[in-house]
């Protein structure tokens, strides 16, 4: 994401800091300006003017930080004093006013500190990024040096002070909680004698609460009157009004106290001070009443009518959150109270006031979907369309309503300005991230809102300021076919290309959104060249790129100390990479965490002393380094992989820390027995561990999934350099500056010639079998998986002929092999390998049902039944499965190495699988043979001429399942209120969905293959034909690309792929030029 936009969004969340952030935009502009004016200035001058500006920015940030920090310091000192005073009393009641307000204030302080930390972090990122940009444009390497000598030495980036404050406040909060819960803190065991008796008002309060809990409601008022009277008799000093006000203040918050009692209290004591403002929280009675979880309308009504009530100031006072009572009312959705408040005219002046999170009352009503409140606020003149500005971004209610997808609210907002036409041009504005309402709607798939927005004049082809995309692109990536249809029906241009010269169809194929693909293809076919002629959309994509390239290349010509470009011709011997990493003896352990903060499920109502900023995973083994994950977790860094010697006594600690500070927030431990007991039953384990805080209270759960891969259990196949495979990459580094032309293609690999694809799986009792298909078609549409039979059963049914080895040995070419397999239906893998002529190469496609197929498929797939096998008990089924197949293969290779002549090679083999887990495991268990991932989740339906989803091994996908994937968008948290990017498009939900995504989306498949070090992927030829640009993109990631085609009819050959699999024969293109 573009950092400038990100900074704008974040500064919206931290309004008290906005204006003091690094001016990233201006610095970026300056770099661009300096890059354009070429000859007039020397590099030294440019450098001077740039760094002058950077230093001013540093000063600005630093100054504000110091101010803010000393402010916080003083605040904390005050709080500490209060705390010490409180502790000097004999007992601290959890319900006393002092305690509550102190506790609240400390919490508030903690969140303030957190915001300061965010400010520091954002600025640090800003400086790093802008310096990186400078280095890139000026081709110098000042970044590291400047960062270390000028930036990081600034007090703002010295974390010591913040860490100290953070630790201090966490300690204080804990002490306070401990004290309140009655834990003994030895440090505060003081001289005992001088116990100050708790104040009278507190005692009254205690008695009052006690009575409410015990006394029968019908007689309570009477009893209370007595109590109040006795209280008055005892106390007739001057400050009684203050004490009583305090008491009332406390009563309003207590849920057990009914309105009647409070009213009674107010009526009984006449001299209450309603203008009292709590000195720590800054709240007055109005705040207290509207915050209360109970509806305090009658009390409010009473207070308002009281002659002592001061209507000029009270309703507009802001508390420590910057909120007026109006904010709280709008949030809680209390219509009566709102009406009551709105009768004061002065409140209308602050109706659009922003609180500490840049939110106004109207916005809170929208977020919490209080429609009646919204209407009332609008009727009272609240402005639904604040003007967006670059300097001081604001939240736009319409955009947020669109994000919520609430049709009614959007309607109300849009119709609200009918009477004031002059505001019409403010209807559709970009939010801080640069997105317009229509883009937001398209990106979330709320297709019902599209017509509504278009009716009110939204431009269907408008570009946003984030990616320079039209709503079409967002709709395509999100994958809702209805949205796409609707947009096209309303004139959206579906052939438009973006700055990277990519059209919506490309993104649809990349993301694997099949339904969208079909819609687009349908329209593309219907009107082949109609749209081409206007050329409004086609023309401007090239000029976008060229000016930036020119301006870059003009810089070095004027500068002498820069290195001119040069590239030697490529070397004759390509750089080969032999084999891949594998497990020799160690066990591979991988933890997958959910993206963002979804791995953490904190119990509601739990207050954390500080916001969790990182998750540390440490181990009880010395040789394993603890790992850190920064929260929120990004989709690129959501895994932790490690190799361990044994799992027997491993203990894995998960600890939560704040971003700054060393104070532990919560901790959990995964023990070896738990790790394995779950793993034996399932292949990919999803687990949630309880999280305990420092005082051992359970505060929530930590959720993640993990994968264990054991090394090959048998004797590994000896590696000889001539027999393992290799691939070579060739770097075309001619134009390093222009990103789109920088590729590192796989130019060659040791794979050449033809391979015959056979399906390999285990029989029910664990004998590896080979078959053309994994099922037997007993009658039309009656398919039974072969793996459901035991080997002896199959022997009776299919393998009763004794001439199988002989017939296999007589096979001369692939054609004959195909006929043989068709006739026999199934052969043991061992028999095939031993007897098939050695010059016939095979592609062993391992069949193993995916999680989806195990869960949803119609066919009853029996799991393996290998009784008493030690391996399967110690590890799990999928591990046993691959080991058994590998053993057969290795035995064959070993025996053939002994028998064959010296110059002959052993049989060429490759592994492939449609199941991602099998691919990963196979790749980790051996370095000898390459593994290809078969991306088979999208197939072309020849009859209907459309694409459709299937599961990895060809089962139909239930529509319901697809639908569940696109759901769960409803809840919006405060920190993703204005940004679609904070919810990552490919967030990790669970292994089932993950596997599904890998086999349907090219983007995910490529990411999976590269991150697991596979040799390449096999992709449907039809998909590649639809979007040839993908070929380049896949190969540029260093993967071998094989196109697969299943038609018997003639097919179009695509150039540029490394290989083609037609039906069962995989042919690699020979392009080694030695």
């Amino acid at each position: 994401m573009k950092f400038g936009k990100y900074l704008a969004t974040r500064s919206l969340e931290l309004p008290e800091y906005s204006g003091h952030f690094i001016n990233y935009k201006a610095l970026k502009k300056l770099i661009n300006q300096l890059a354009i004016q070429d000859d007039s200035l020397s590099l030294q001058d440019k450098k001077g003017s740039f760094f002058f500006k950077v230093e001013r920015e540093l000063e600005k940030v630093n100054e504000f930080y110091l101010e803010k920090q000393s402010e916080l310091r003083i605040k904390l000192d005050i709080l500490m004093m209060k705390k010490n005073k409180l502790f000097n009393q004999s007992s601290v009641e959890k319900s006393s006013i002092d305690f509550i307000s102190l506790y609240e204030s400390l919490k508030k302080f903690s969140s303030d500190l957190d915001r300061l930390q965010q400010f520091v972090e954002l600025n640090e990122a800003g400086f790093t990024k802008v310096l990186k940009k400078w280095d890139k444009r000026s081709k110098s390497t000042t970044k590291e040096l400047y960062l270390s000598i000028a930036v990081n030495v600034q007090p703002v980036f010295h974390r010591n002070e913040i860490i100290e404050l953070s630790d201090l406040v966490a300690t204080n909060l804990l002490e306070l909680e401990a004290q309140a819960d009655g834990d003994v803190i030895i440090r505060y065991e003081k001289q005992a004698t001088k116990a100050i008796p708790s104040s009278k008002s507190d005692r009254l309060f205690d008695q009052l609460i006690f009575m409410i809990k015990t006394v029968d409601p019908s007689v309570i008022l009477e009893k209370l009157t007595k109590l109040f009277q006795s209280f008055l008799d005892e106390n007739n000093s001057d400050n009684i009004s203050f004490k009583l006000s305090n008491l009332l203040y406390l009563l309003t918050l207590n849920e057990n106290v009914s309105n009647e009692i409070i009213l009674h209290f107010i009526n009984f004591f006449s001299n209450l001070n309603f203008s009292m403002v709590d000195d720590l929280t800054g709240r007055n009675f109005l705040h207290q009443l509207v915050i209360s979880k109970v509806d305090r309308y009658p009390v409010l009504d009473q207070i308002v009518r009281n002659p002592d009530f001061d209507p000029s100031t009270l309703p507009v006072i802001k508390d420590f959150n910057g909120r007026t009572p109006l904010h709280y009312v709008a949030e809680a959705g209390n219509l009566n109270t709102l009406q009551l408040l709105l009768q004061y005219t002065n409140i209308k002046l602050v109706i659009d006031a922003l609180d500490g999170n840049s939110m106004c009352a109207l916005l809170l009503a929208v977020i919490n979907r209080h429609i009646d409140i919204l209407q009332l606020l609008l009727a009272n003149g609240s402005n639904p369309f604040p003007t967006q500005s670059e300097v001081q971004p604001v939240y736009l209610p319409l955009n947020i309503a669109c994000q919520l997808g609430d049709e009614e609210i959007v309607k109300i907002l849009l119709s609200s300005t009918k009477h004031s036409e002059n505001q019409l041009n403010n209807f559709f504005q970009c939010n801080a991230e640069g997105l317009l309402p229509l883009h937001i709607v398209a990106s979330l798939g709320n297709h019902n809102l599209i017509t509504l927005l278009l009716d009110h004049g939204a431009d269907v082809n408008q570009l946003d300021k984030l990616n320079k995309w039209t709503p079409m692109f967002y709709a395509v990536i999100q994958g809702n076919p209805q949205t796409v249809e609707l947009l096209i029906a309303n004139g959206a241009d579906f052939k438009l290309r973006d700055d990277d010269n990519l059209d919506p169809l490309y993104y649809a194929v990349l993301e694997g959104n099949v339904y969208v693909m079909n819609v687009l293809l349908k329209y593309l076919k219907d009107e082949p060249d109609k749209k081409l002629t206007p050329s409004k959309s086609q023309g401007p994509e090239k000029p976008h790129l060229t000016p930036s390239v020119l301006s870059i290349s003009s810089v070095p010509s004027s500068v002498t100390d820069l290195i001119p470009d040069l590239s030697l011709p490529p070397p004759i011997i390509p750089l080969r990479k032999y084999g891949h990493n594998f497990l020799e003896k160690k066990i591979f352990l991988k933890f997958n965490f959910f993206t963002a903060r979804d791995s953490l499920k904190i119990n509601p109502d739990t207050f954390l002393t500080s916001v969790p900023g990182r998750l540390t995973v440490s181990f009880n083994k010395d040789d394993l380094i603890p790992r850190n994950l920064i929260l929120p977790i990004s989709s690129k860094e959501n895994t932790i992989a490690l190799q361990v010697d044994s799992l027997d006594d491993i203990m894995i600690d998960f600890e939560l820390y704040p971003t700054f500070g060393t104070r532990l927030i919560a901790k959990s431990t995964l023990s070896a027995s738990l790790l394995l007991s779950r793993y034996n039953k399932e292949t990919d384990v999803y687990i949630s561990l309880p999280l305990f805080d420092v005082r051992l209270r359970n505060i929530g759960q930590l959720q993640f999934s993990y994968q264990v891969i054991f090394p090959y259990s048998g004797k590994p196949l000896e590696i000889s350099i001539y027999e393992t495979y290799w691939k070579s990459t060739n770097n075309q580094s001619s134009q390093q500056l222009v990103k789109s032309t920088y590729f590192s293609f796989v130019t060659a690999s040791s794979l050449s010639g033809q391979y015959y694809r056979v399906k390999v799986f285990l029989s029910h009792d664990g004998i590896p079998l080979v078959a053309p298909e994994w099922y037997l078609e007993l009658a039309p549409n009656l398919r039974v998986p072969i793996s459901n039979f035991t080997y002896s059963q199959l022997k009776v049914m299919l393998l009763h002929n004794h001439d199988i080895p002989e017939r296999t040995a007589n096979v001369k070419d692939f054609k004959q092999l195909e006929i043989l397999l068709d006739q026999l239906k199934c052969i043991p893998l061992q028999v095939l390998l031993e007897n098939l002529p050695i010059n016939l190469s095979i592609d062993l496609e391992i069949f193993y049902p995916t999680l989806y197929e195990l869960t949803f498929a119609d066919l009853p797939l029996a799991r393996l039944n290998v009784k008493g096998n030690e391996l399967i008990l110690k590890t799990n089924e999928i591990n046993y499965y691959t080991d058994t197949i590998l053993t057969t293969v290795f035995d064959h290779v070993r025996s053939s190495r002994q028998t064959i002549q010296h110059d002959q090679k052993t049989r060429s083999m490759i592994f492939s699988s449609s199941n991602p887990s099998i691919c990963t495991i196979l790749n980790w268990k051996q370095p000898n043979y390459p593994v290809l991932f078969n991306m088979s989740g999208v197939v072309f339906d020849d009859e209907e001429k459309t694409f459709k989803y299937v599961s990895a091994n060809g089962f139909p996908i239930l529509e319901d399942f697809e639908r569940t994937l696109t759901k769960d968008r409803s809840n919006i948290k405060l920190d993703n209120i204005d940004s679609i990017n904070k919810k990552e498009s490919n967030s990790y939900t669970d292994e089932l969905v993950n596997q599904h995504c890998i086999s349907k989306s090219i983007k995910q498949a490529v990411f999976f293959a590269t991150s697991n070090n596979l040799l390449g992927i096999i992709v449907s030829n039809q998909l590649l034909k639809v979007c040839p640009r993908l070929i380049e993109d896949i190969r540029s990631r260093g993967l071998i690309l094989v196109a697969s085609e299943n038609n018997k009819t003639p097919y179009d050959i695509i150039d540029d792929v490394n290989g083609l699999r037609l039906n069962d024969i995989l042919t690699f293109q020979d392009d080694i030029d030695m």
């Binding site: 004759i572 750089l575 770097n731």
Partner: protein
């Protein structure tokens, strides 16, 4: 030798008028004091002559697969040796000792890795690798491989591979010493060379290469600039003697290379 400061030699030396009338430049006796630009020209000349010679020996254009090394380019790069060396020297901030060591490495590598020969396909990659290794081996401060690769015009991953290949081939004997010629051969099976020089300090080895270079290519008729050593004309330089150093020129590897 103390009176030989470099500015003295930048003007043409009246003491040794050249035949063609081209300016003749007198170079200091110690290679350390030699201006880098001149040294680059000199070394480029000797490299060029070597390349020309080796190219003419393999006229048939057929390169056997067994004779391919990682230093081979697919086609001769279209930057001349002199420019390339100048580029390396300028942007990678190479000192004189490194440039000379690169020439020394030609002998070392050809000895231990007979398949390798300096020709128009290999010279660029060889120079880049040699200077990178020499800089790391001899200098206190050097640049990153990324930097060298950028200057040299190849990808850093290739430079890394070349570096390892080179080091393995010369058995990691990268500091110029005369006894290296024996030790590099211990690993490879090639016969131990009979070259025995009486010098052992790096400085002396490099000085020797320096003298030899000037002697061999300092004066080439059709070139504009002639070089000669301070204090003696080129004709005398064959009998050059430095105190304590007995130079046996006939056995110097540069000329023995030429004889092959």
């Amino acid at each position: 030798m103390d009176n030989n400061s470099s500015e003295v030699f930048s003007v043409s030396n009246p003491g040794s008028p050249s035949k063609t009338g081209a300016p003749s430049i007198v170079l200091p006796v110690e290679f350390i004091h030699c201006p880098r630009d001149h040294l680059v020209v000199l070394l480029a000349r000797i490299l060029q002559s070597l390349v020309d010679m080796n190219d003419s020996m393999t006229e048939s254009k057929q390169i056997h697969t067994q004779k391919l090394t990682r230093f081979h380019s697919r086609a001769p790069p279209n930057i001349s040796i002199e420019h390339y060396l100048g580029r390396l020297a300028q942007y990678s901030y190479l000192e004189n000792s490194i440039l000379l060591t690169a020439v020394y490495y030609i002998d070392l590598l050809s000895l231990s890795y007979p398949v390798f020969s300096l020709n128009s396909l290999t010279v660029h990659r060889f120079l880049l690798t040699a200077t990178t290794i020499a800089a790391k081996g001899l200098c206190d401060s050097f640049c990153s491989n990324t930097h060298y690769a950028k200057v040299g015009g190849i990808h850093v991953s290739e430079l890394n591979i070349l570096e390892v290949e080179f080091l393995n081939k010369v058995n990691w004997r990268i500091v110029p010493r005369d006894f290296n010629h024996e030790t590099v051969c211990i690993r490879s099976a090639s016969p131990v060379s009979e070259i025995k020089l009486s010098v052992s300090a790096t400085n002396d080895v490099l000085d020797m290469y320096y003298y030899r270079t000037i002697m061999l290519v300092g004066k080439i008729d059709d070139l504009a600039v002639n070089y000669c050593l301070a204090g003696r004309s080129l004709s005398e330089s064959g009998s050059l003697k430095r105190p304590g150093n007995e130079m046996d020129w006939t056995s110097c590897s540069l000329s023995s290379k030429r004889n092959r």
